[in-house]
Amino acid sequence: MEADTARTPSPVLGLYDRPMWDSIRDRAMRLQRCRGCGTWQYPPGPGCTACLSEDLEWTPVSGKATIISWVIFHRQYLAAYPAPYNAIAVRLEEGPVMISNLEGSPPERSWIGRKVRLVYTEMPDGAVLPRFTLRD
């Protein structure tokens, strides 16, 4: 990492976040899934938000998702993100909503409803982020 490389904003690393970020670094993102009722958790947490079971299993996600909203930042807030840049909200096929970015060429009209797939982006400082690219 060069001295003048902007640092990617650090993720929140609570007790349950670290295994997820380890799986992202391995380019095979896993989320907790409840062994009891099957509900997927995001963000990671101490138990199942649907049934309060603490019996969760780190399980790979399919990487399939659909865009439910998007924005374009026209102002810079963070050194690693010069404007303009986008942020998207996607609903993972597994259920949870996740915030990320759309890589590659953007849709010509509305982004909402567009199918996307998970990709892994290595940032200039070496951080790996789960992002999405158009699938259709």
């Binding site: 993720p11 690693a80 942020a87 909200a89």
Partner: protein, 397 residues
């Protein structure tokens, strides 16, 4: 598929209806302090602003400080230090945001824990350089969504509302120009408010020509960031009638919180806070024995203009899906069907995180708003839906 406590039609706690009333209001000179702050001065810190506002509220009430037996500090000052600065040893105390301070004061009074409660707020956010975006964003300790998505560059509460509005306008068929009616209307009101920081009228054309900050939101959709303080004195109803000739009663209270999925922003992006608003509305309307058709003025917590269309639909002022049409055809500005944020609100008057809105509720009901006074104002509705925690307050004469 949400778990919600209580049925939508349950009437809240009728005991609190007209149990307490506002007998004193006060605030700092934020127009003067805006100019001073821009000149590089620091007129006061949060405690200094709080003290100025409290003194003004005390003068307005005609009470002596010794009459205050309850104290609620706003979220930006430590409770003990605020009480020390104000020289108050109360028999009951608490810390809360604007709308919940009013609610807590009513519950303390109704239960007999206190009789005359001061609720006091001071904030030096402008001169202190408080950050509402970036990795150290204010509020991140209370709302994980404010900081969780920063690795992807999603930061600032404005961006969260930009995401909300993008999904909302897609779902409802609303346009950016229709949203622009909110900022235009509130400037119309603030142009008649000598205590407003931004008073120059704007048009929808000005709005559309203004820069995006986080697309689809424009600069005019964002609140100000300024220093100031606000205080109110709330007394038990019978005592209030002895203290002043024009007490303003709290007639209805309702609340409903959306916590499930909150960090992923689901309540904003998929439901637009609607279920919480509808339930808070139903509870407060039932307590007050009134409905949206009985409200003369609406005051909406407007950190961003987006709150206004969400509130119009959620609290029953127009059918779901028709807020854009309502804003364009009926209007919320001067001369419009539903006078909304008549001081100019957070967008144009002052960003006091909901506190100054309470003062405007009281002033409209006292009939002291001058040029912007809504005639024969009998009920004012205040709504707040910060992060999907919907609270509805109804004030009456």
């Amino acid at each position: 598929m949400s778990v919600t406590a209580g049925a939508a039609t349950s009437g809240g706690t009728p005991r609190l209806r007209r149990a307490a009333a506002v007998v004193g209001i006060g605030h700092t000179d934020w127009v003067r302090d805006w100019t001073r702050a821009r000149a590089g001065e620091k007129p006061a810190d949060s405690y200094g602003y709080a003290m100025q506002a409290f003194s003004a509220a005390l003068r307005d009430s005609g009470l002596k400080r010794e009459a205050i037996d309850g104290l609620i500090a706003g979220p930006t000052t430590a409770y003990e230090r605020l009480g020390e600065v104000l020289g108050i040893n109360p028999r009951w105390g608490d810390q809360a945001d604007a709308v919940l301070s009013v609610v807590q004061a009513c519950t303390a009074i109704e239960s007999g824990l206190a009789e005359v409660v001061a609720i006091v707020y001071g904030n030096d956010q402008r001169t202190a350089g408080t950050q509402y975006g970036g990795p150290q964003a204010m509020g991140g300790d209370a709302f994980l969504s404010y900081v969780y998505h920063s690795p992807w560059g999603l930061t600032s509460q404005g961006a969260l509302y930009a995401l909300t509005f993008q999904a909302y306008k897609h779902a409802r068929g609303m346009t950016e120009a229709e949203l622009g009616e909110v900022a235009v209307a509130q400037r119309g009101w603030s142009s008649m408010n000598p205590n407003a920081i931004m008073r120059k009228r704007i048009t929808v054309e000005d709005y559309m020509a203004s820069n995006y900050v986080c697309e689809p939101l424009h600069l005019f959709d964002y609140c100000l960031i300024n220093d100031g303080g606000v205080a109110m004195i709330i007394a038990e109803a019978e005592r209030a009638k002895q203290i002043c000739a024009n007490p303003v009663f709290i007639e209805g209270i309702g609340r409903s919180d959306l916590n499930r999925g909150a960090t992923s922003l689901e309540p904003r992006l998929t439901e637009f806070y609607l279920p919480a608003q509808q339930q808070a509305a139903a509870r407060s309307y039932a307590m007050a024995g009134a409905g949206p058709e009985d409200m003369d003025v609406l005051q909406v917590y407007d950190s961003f203009s987006v709150h206004v269309p969400l509130a119009l639909e959620g609290y029953g002022y127009c059918p779901v899906g028709e807020a854009g049409k309502f804003l364009r055809e009926q209007g919320v500005g001067p001369g419009g069907r539903l006078p909304t944020n008549t001081s100019g609100g957070h967008l144009s008057e002052t960003y006091m995180q909901g506190w100054a809105h309470q003062l405007e509720c009281v002033r409209q009901l006292r009939g002291t708003c001058g040029e912007r006074q809504v005639q024969d104002c009998r009920r004012v509705h205040y709504t707040s839906d910060v992060a999907g925690k919907a609270v509805s307050l109804i004030y009456g004469r």
